[in-house]
Point group: C2
């Protein structure tokens, strides 16, 4: 049950639309093709605009058609109608394809494009974005969990291809298909966690804790602020977190629910030292300009972490999608301010539920050789 | 350089839009919010439609805004303007987000959605669809090859996350990131190809041939009709096909350029037998209804293949995306008609460049036990 927005566009030679007269002919040609597919097609507006032409139509049942001709030869057609759950689509994918082909011939267009109908206002939101704001339509067929915590909107949705996915504030966080994410974050096979002391900042989905515990560390302390995330994952994401979120303490791990800064300060006072600290908080902010405060917070966290690390310790973190290069560069430049000086290596992996390559970073004190 | 279509939608209580008067107020509220972001916003049409309301606006520079209020409480807003390559976006992603939030408050909306601007008519087409017609925006930044052969449109594009991707008639075929596709198709590790005689139907990208040759078969004969695909892949997809497409004959392989049916008929006449036949032709048709002819062709090919297979031979093929269940079921039902009777196993894998799980099928003569 959703409004369906059908987008079609065509490119014609600018010479074919160089005056109002020609544009009227083009628009009427489009109208004539559409007439065969839409009942009672009726023009309700038409006016020249910015060297181009606009026309608005209505048709049965409840269809609107907006045609815009740009002076440079681009023609966009936007159709919209409401489709109930039990209604057949007014125009199927195959029929829109036919319409595209007929219009392409009619307009002598050298380039055309049809988009699958965009579904709007339905019960299920199947559209998420990549880190660089690309539109991705997922095969999501169920919402398993949806509540708003004091910190964020927490959802667990089911995708036919990807299994369950944790979505925080409309951002894909981790999916059942994403073992590669956790393994790249921890550089499995390259780092040795046996008998090590480890801190996880964030990590509420439990996947990192679960995988680290398999490597027999001395102790892992996880600092997560949002209990709702952990409760939801313990129930719906067991394939990635096992039973580690069922209780907040085990033989060699502890989960502290609260602000990680507070715990880091306490560790500092107690003079504790760690071999690994993982940054598994929310995404690194997109850019300095838009998220100055977040960067300031991040910088503070980083500085504290390096005070808590042993000389051969490492700070391991995810950064962002490879297409968000501004954010990746910003993260790297943050490392310049760390005292004592640090170096880093990076790794990358395609994360299925993100549908893009993600960058991970391993930071260590300068003077300690890169692995 | 493309038209940007910005889609926003909101859900309000139906009681808030139950008559024309209320709807006019809602539309004017929207107008008042938009005024702060768009210069010279001017209404050029407004009319009741199907128990709802339509309004069309223009604004500077070259912006159109179409507002539609549905009687059930759904409100859609479609904005469109042309953005040159060097122009800053009129509304950035962050600004659209702000606009969404302001409108949500203004409309007392309980659900809202913003889409990243949809780019139309640009030089680069970054939108592809999944097997079940979901819209996917790729991080494609270059077209490396584009020509039309007698059989199809052949493109090789570059994606920042996925490397080079072969696109045939606007369908993703294989990417440099998709070794998993070839390995699942051939059931690597489960099947033994050493000293075996093998036919590949299609396979023009060369990946299957390349991987099979690593397993020391006696001979692989590949039957591909489209030379342009092979030439393009030999140049731009070398990481998946190595040098196997550089010449059409090697110590233990041969590529026959032409209609696979003809070759299969010749093999039959010659009384040749094979251990494995791979179906690596274009996708299995979507449904009986829309692609009857294709199914008839497919059925014919299948029947011939099973005549050419040794008693312990296998027919191995990709089928379709898991969301295209109609197509997968149709394929399975095709197997019922094969003489002598056959059985099958299936496997599935997430194929990065398809951004979905894909089904693969291994068919063998009934009586031979499943591996």
């Amino acid at each position: 049950m959703a409004a369906n927005t059908i987008l079609l566009d065509f490119s014609v030679e600018p010479a074919a639309v160089k005056n109002d007269n020609q544009m009227q002919v083009v628009a009427t040609n489009i109208e004539n093709v559409l007439k065969d597919y839409l009942t009672s097609l009726k023009q309700v507006q038409g006016l020249p605009f910015q060297g181009g032409l606009l026309r608005l139509y209505t048709a049965d049942p409840g269809v609107t058609v907006f045609i815009r001709i740009y002076g440079n030869g681009l023609i966009t057609i936007n159709m919209e109608y409401f489709k109930g759950d039990k209604d057949n689509p007014l125009l199927t994918f195959e029929l829109i394809k036919v319409l595209e082909q007929k219009l392409q011939v009619q307009l002598a267009s050298f380039r055309s494009k049809m988009f699958p109908p965009i579904k709007r206002g339905g019960l299920l939101d199947v559209y998420l974005s990549s880190s660089d704001e690309r539109l991705l339509e997922y095969d999501i067929d169920k919402v398993l969990f949806e509540e708003t915590s004091p910190y964020q909107k927490v959802q667990i949705v089911h995708s036919k291809s990807l299994g369950n996915i944790l979505v925080l504030d409309d951002l894909q966080n981790i999916g059942e298909s994403d073992l590669i994410y956790t393994e790249t974050l921890m550089a499995r096979g390259k780092e040795n966690y046996k008998d090590k002391e480890i801190v996880i900042l964030g990590g509420g989905d439990g996947a990192l804790l679960y995988e680290l515990l398999k490597e027999k560390p001395k102790e892992v302390v996880m600092l997560e602020i949002d209990e709702m995330v952990m409760k939801a994952c313990a129930k719906y994401m067991r394939s990635i977190c096992g039973d580690v979120l069922d209780k907040y303490e085990g033989p060699n791990y502890k989960i502290i629910v609260g602000d990680c800064m507070k715990s880091l300060e306490e560790f500092t006072k107690e003079g504790r030292k760690f071999d690994y600290i993982f940054g598994d908080l929310t995404d690194v902010p997109i850019s300095q300009k838009h998220s100055g405060q977040l960067w300031t917070f991040y910088q503070k966290v980083l500085q504290m972490c390096f005070k808590l690390l042993r000389p051969d310790g490492k700070f391991m973190t995810h950064v962002n999608g490879i297409c968000s290069s501004e954010s990746v560069d910003m993260f790297k430049s943050q490392l310049d301010n760390i005292e004592p000086p640090v170096k880093f290596t990076t790794s990358r992996a395609f994360v299925p539920s993100f549908m893009e390559d993600w960058i991970f970073c391993q930071v260590f004190f300068d003077g300690n050789k890169k692995e």
